[in-house]
């Protein structure tokens, strides 16, 4: 199961199979060296409705390059790391493999949590049950539009950490931290589950501000996907270090 550190956490994302010539395990290991506390490894699905252009393009390239669930699990399992891994994917891939088999394969590959952006809490009975059986965390997203009543339902079922969506829209790097983020964090203050804020995080200053606003961690994805394509795994390690530093500074102030 995922355990976040005492100090502010950095959670990173990349799409497995993008860029094509970069080894999945190498990216995960670079994230660990850079100080990431959790690494989300995206399993590409052909209809990524929650993702913005950066991750959509990465997914298309990964699929064109032949990434499949079988290859994904094999590649993730080959990473030699201690950092907890999370599988981020869409529900149809889980359904087609068989919900229980999918979670069992996650566990077997060393994955400790699952995030499914098109699976709201209402539809999550089967996956929740399978995760419980295999000791895998099921992470849920809380959006700026989520009502208090829905937060209750989500917090009731979430484990690992709560993924707080910083703004409406899709994934993608942004220039600033939105006011919605602070409002959301205020609303969640009473809940014990660790809160990590994502959607738009790309700079150390964002990470600091978000942590100052009350988050236990930050999630960054598109900035890595973009950088991986441009500068390879060295970028990942360096950028992770900067963002982690930013998050920690936010915790100190």
């Amino acid at each position: 199961m995922i355990e976040l550190p005492e100090e502010p956490a950095l959670i990173t994302y990349f799409t497995a199979g993008h860029p094509r010539d970069v080894d999945v395990a190498d990216v995960i290991e670079a994230f660990e060296r850079g100080g990431a506390d959790v690494v989300e490894v995206g399993l590409p699905f052909s209809e990524p409705i929650a993702d913005g252009p950066t991750i959509q393009n990465a997914i298309t390239e990964a699929l064109d390059g032949g990434m499949t669930p079988d290859r994904y699990f094999e590649a993730v399992a080959s990473a030699d790391v201690d950092v907890p891994l999370v599988c981020m994917t869409y529900y149809n891939l889980i359904l087609q493999r068989g919900v229980d088999d999918f979670v069992a394969d996650c566990k077997e590959a060393g994955i400790e949590g699952v995030i499914v952006p098109d699976l709201p809490v209402e539809e999550s009975d089967e996956l929740h049950e399978a995760c419980r059986r295999h000791d895998v965390d099921l992470v849920f997203i809380v959006a700026p539009t989520t009502t208090d009543e829905r937060v209750e339902r989500i917090v009731d079922r979430v484990s690992g950490f709560l993924y707080v969506q910083a703004r409406l829209g899709t994934t993608g790097a942004r220039e600033d931290v939105s006011g919605e983020t602070y409002e959301a964090l205020d609303g969640l203050r009473g809940y014990e589950v660790p809160k990590a804020v994502g959607f738009g995080v790309s700079e150390p200053e964002h990470a600091s501000e978000i942590v100052e606003g009350g988050a236990d961690g930050v999630v960054a994805g598109s900035v890595f996907v973009d950088g991986l394509e441009r500068d390879g795994v060295e970028f990942v390690e360096e950028k992770a270090r900067e963002l982690k530093q930013g998050a920690v500074e936010g915790g100190d102030s």
């Binding site: 409705i49 087609q96 952006p117 098109d118 209402e122 539009t145 009502t147 829905r150 969506q165």
Partner: protein
């Protein structure tokens, strides 16, 4: 109505950001679709703006050739040239009730986009339409119509540049602008309550047909035939007949260029006939997918049927045996397109031509047959000219269309 479950199909598989809007829509749907005042306004507008009721036409030449009484439900005569206005107008009215001043929609053939643009213009709503690049190329007249009525048409170049990709992009817009925007989904697909709501808004087709056929033929038909892409004209035509056990319901899907799957492409759009259960665009339904669950690109000559999924209720009705799934391929649809034009003086949409084509293929449709003519074919002239030997005779017309 909210508790409607289609035998395990359906559901609400959407990002959390959209869930509150979907809950709000559920409430509005339940409240207004049973509200006399709302229903009255909807029906009035469908009448004096849309031109309802549409006729049920006895097609004499076709009837004689087939040896059965063939009636065409003339949704092609609805304002805009297709059944799509029934749904778009209903949802635009609901958007007003929910205080949303912007509507967005996906479109394949451009018919739903056109209907949404019309409804938005008539009700003074801001309107943005997402349309695949490939569909924009093959449906130019509709793109121009939408723009004329003040809608912004946004090209989508992701994926195959068709309906499925346009839906993805519309969902992304909705997740971004959900607070002031309503997504006018164009078919009986998507998360609950869309499949039930769109069916209820389209059910006027079957209600009228049922009444009209009893007046004309003195009895119910032996069969009702409709084409199925997502399935909105299908469910609209079938719903009033679902408890009439002696009325056979035939859903005709696009057989495209063949039913085998090659590489990542399905050269057809026959998810009811050969699809497998999965989750796409918010619902559990039958889909064209590979063994891992990646969605396959579909194909049909008709943009409006070119979709990898199908409405969850229709999938359920096929599973229970109430609805018979059939296919007509590109060639059969084209033949039907020409034949109906020549014999009856009615140019059908290529989508509807798939339903008409079943008349030539199916032997036991019975003595009284209703075919839902879901739209008119003007938008398809370019495609048909390219596909058929008429290309030479029609060269002048094509220049006109390109302008």
């Amino acid at each position: 109505m909210t508790d409607e479950v289609f035998g395990g199909y359906g559901g609400q598989y959407v990002p959390e950001a959209l869930m509150p809007a979907i809950e709000e829509l559920e409430e509005a749907y339940e409240r207004y679709l049973d509200d006399d005042e709302f229903v009255e306004e909807f029906e009035r507008r469908l009448g004096d703006y849309g031109g309802r009721p549409t006729p049920l036409y006895h097609a004499p030449t076709t009837s004689e050739r087939i040896g059965a009484d063939v009636y065409l439900k003339r949704e092609d005569l609805l304002h805009g040239g297709a059944h799509k206005l029934n749904n778009a107008l209903g949802q635009a009215l609901l958007a007003k009730k929910m205080d949303k001043d912007r509507v967005i929609a996906e479109t394949g053939a451009g018919q739903h986009g056109t209907a949404t643009a019309m409804a938005a213009a008539a009700l003074d709503l801001e309107c943005e339409i997402y349309m695949g690049e490939k569909d924009i190329q093959r449906q130019q007249p509709n793109v121009f119509r939408m723009r004329l009525m003040g809608a912004e048409v946004v090209p989508v170049d992701a994926g195959s540049g068709t309906l499925k990709d346009a839906i993805n992009e519309t969902l992304r817009d909705w997740a971004t602008n959900v607070e002031d925007t309503h997504y006018v989904i164009g078919s009986v697909v998507g998360p609950h309550p869309f499949p039930s709501m769109v069916r209820d808004l389209q059910a006027v087709i079957g209600r009228e047909t049922r009444r009209q056929i009893q007046e004309r033929a003195g009895r119910l038909p032996d069969s009702v035939v409709a084409c199925a892409g997502g399935g909105s004209n299908t469910m609209g035509a079938f719903h009033a007949f679902r408890d009439d056990e002696d009325v056979e319901l035939y859903a005709v899907e696009a057989g495209g260029s063949g039913l085998d799957i090659e590489d990542d492409r399905a050269p057809h759009s026959a998810s009811l006939n050969v699809g497998e259960e999965g989750v796409l665009h918010g619902a559990r339904t039958r889909l064209l997918q590979d063994e891992d669950g990646q969605i396959l690109e579909s194909h049909s000559l008709s943009a409006g049927l070119d979709y990898s999924g199908v409405g969850p209720e229709l999938a359920y009705l096929v599973d229970t045996g109430r609805v018979e799934p059939r296919t007509a391929d590109d060639t059969e649809a084209l033949e039907a397109f020409h034949q109906l034009s020549r014999e009856e003086g009615i140019i059908p949409a290529l989508e509807s031509a798939h339903a008409v084509a079943l008349l030539e293929k199916e032997d036991d449709l019975g003595d009284v047959v209703v075919v839902n003519l879901s739209g008119r074919g003007d938008k398809d002239l370019d495609t048909v000219m390219q596909e058929s030997a008429l290309a030479d005779d029609g060269s002048m017309l094509r220049e006109e269309g390109d302008r």
